[in-house]
């Protein structure tokens, strides 16, 4: 079985997600879906006066990979500037997850990044 994919830290972030929950005070929020598996992710970000991420939150449901990815990303981006967030890549997410993601699960893994990118785009308009 694929213990490789479901390593302890992935399961830890799935069972004890960091930053889970909506923010009542946020600079922007954005919701995305993974139509294939029905995963849903809504991301909340509060940015301070220096344009740095002060607080993050997320709501939604999905598989261990999509939820761990959201948990890890919302941890990682705290303290980063909006410009820094815009440089995040697929590889950054794969590095955070640190487990081999095959093609079938790539969409799950990248739902958090897609949500952040689309949210940032709308926020920057």
């Amino acid at each position: 079985m694929d213990e490789e994919l479901y390593r302890e830290h992935i399961l830890d972030h799935y069972k004890n997600p960091r930053n889970k929950g909506a923010l009542s005070d946020y600079s922007f929020k954005h919701k995305e879906y993974n139509p294939l598996c029905g995963d849903v992710l809504e991301l909340f970000l509060r940015v301070d006066e220096k344009n740095r991420v002060a607080e993050t939150g997320f709501e939604g449901h999905g598989c261990a990979i999509s939820q761990a990815s959201a948990s890890l990303l919302t941890e990682y981006i705290k303290g980063k500037t909006i410009d820094e967030l815009k440089t995040l890549t697929t590889q950054d997410i794969l590095d955070m997850l640190g487990v081999p993601i095959n093609d079938a699960r790539m969409k799950c893994a990248m739902l958090s990044l897609k949500t952040l990118e689309q949210g940032l785009y709308a926020f920057s308009q």
Binding site: Y6, L11, C63
Partner: protein, 400 residues
């Protein structure tokens, strides 16, 4: 032919003996005779049909039309009532576009919350376009249609009643004959989506008394890209074609067109000849095993699977879990997302489907985001179920 020996008829299964294929609800495996029939068309009579005067074209036409007769007989229909399409989705869209063109505000189309998106979205979208109302029959907590609600919803305003014969998500078999009678009582037409049922039940459209019946070839051992629409000739004759083009006309002038007779009126363009012939071979294959043997084998296997899997701790089944649930078992393991279950089963060479099964309104009605779906076919064995059982225990161990 012994049903137990027939895994060897399917090249993909024979070539990968470690593979436990439990996703026949998505697509069934293709037996060698079907592949041979398609190959033989390309190798010996690869020509267009209905127009060539030369010999290979005549041969291709003969095989294509013989297939139509064979499939029509398989479901108890006449040859002119059997239209080739690309599959159930295309058949349903053909019906939706053709039938809804005469609907107006105040008219109603009744569907169900159990439908595959292909029998839900077309009506929903055309309702927006034409201004008619779409209503959906609800479901019971154990995944059956609420028949009291059906009787109440189907009213004199109803023009079309459209429903699945067998749920692709839970395997629930619906009382098709009863629903058709409810439709006819108010003068509505009844459409039955047989995409799932066609491989698992003896279908007799005359006995069911449906007005239309649709199915896909690839869920009944046939190839992808071919399917059928059955319609009562009296209704088809008065319907507007859905696609216009070659072969579906009898005369074209600069200002008007006379359409061809049935069934050609609904088959515009060069059809999928090889795959139609392949589907004919699939019908031959089913008849060589015997549909009664298929049904018996799958009923025993469904019961066995439910009995074996219920020993797994923290498993929740969706569906009636009695004789009206057939060949499909939908479940969740507590605390583990269906997608993760499917990924881990894949590492054990077990192929299952996970997610909403293209039936999001149904999942919402059941209060779940998705399920793990095991769908059985006649090539599955009790050994396959035992392997699934053991693998599910391993999944739980990883997520403990």
């Amino acid at each position: 032919m012994s049903i137990n020996a027939h895994k060897k008829d399917f090249p993909m299964l024979a070539g990968q003996p470690q593979l436990v294929y439990l996703d026949s609800g998505a697509t069934s495996q293709t037996p060698q005779p079907v592949l041979d029939a398609m190959n033989d068309y390309y190798n010996t009579c690869n020509a267009n049909i209905h127009r060539g005067v030369y010999q290979v074209s005549t041969e291709a036409t003969k095989r294509y039309e013989a297939t139509r007769e064979k499939i029509a007989a398989f479901i108890g229909a006449q040859r002119e009532e059997l239209i080739f399409t690309s599959g159930a989705t295309m058949s349903l869209n053909l019906l939706a576009y053709s039938l809804c063109s005469t609907l107006k505000q105040g008219d109603e189309v009744v569907t169900t919350l159990m439908e595959h998106h292909s029998n839900f979205v077309p009506w929903q979208q055309l309702a927006k376009q034409h201004g008619f109302t779409m209503r959906s029959i609800g479901v019971t907590p154990d995944g059956r249609l609420n028949m009291e609600e059906a009787a109440a919803l189907i009213s004199p305003a109803t023009k079309i009643v459209t429903f699945t014969h067998m749920s692709n998500a839970l395997g629930t078999i619906n009382p098709a004959k009863e629903l058709c009678a409810l439709a006819h009582r108010v003068g509505a037409v009844a459409i039955v989506d047989g995409a799932q049922s066609i491989a698992h039940m003896q279908v007799d459209v005359k006995n069911m008394n449906c007005d239309f019946f649709v199915f896909s070839g690839h869920k009944m051992f046939g190839p992808k890209g071919i399917g059928c629409l059955y319609g009562k000739a009296t209704l088809l004759k008065n319907m507007q074609p859905f696609l216009y083009g070659g072969d579906m006309i009898s005369e074209v002038t600069t200002t008007d067109t006379c359409f061809n007779e049935l069934p050609y009126k609904f088959e515009a363009g060069t059809p999928n000849i090889a795959d139609a012939i392949g589907l004919g071979a699939a019908v031959d294959y089913i008849q060589s095993i015997g549909i009664k043997n298929v049904i018996q084998h799958e009923a025993v296997l469904t019961r066995y699977a439910l009995d074996v899997l219920k020993n797994i701790p923290n498993i929740t089944f969706y569906g009636p879990q009695n004789a009206s649930q057939y060949a499909i078992i939908s479940f969740n393991l507590k605390g583990i997302h269906a997608h993760d279950v499917a990924t881990l089963l894949d590492r054990e060479h077990i192929a299952v489907r996970a997610g909403h099964h293209c039936a999001m309104p149904f999942m919402t009605a059941l209060g779940v985001h998705g399920t793990v779906r095991v769908s059985l076919s006649s090539y599955n064995t009790k050994e396959d179920i035992d392997k699934l059982h053991d693998a599910l225990l391993k999944v739980q161990k990883i997520f403990k």
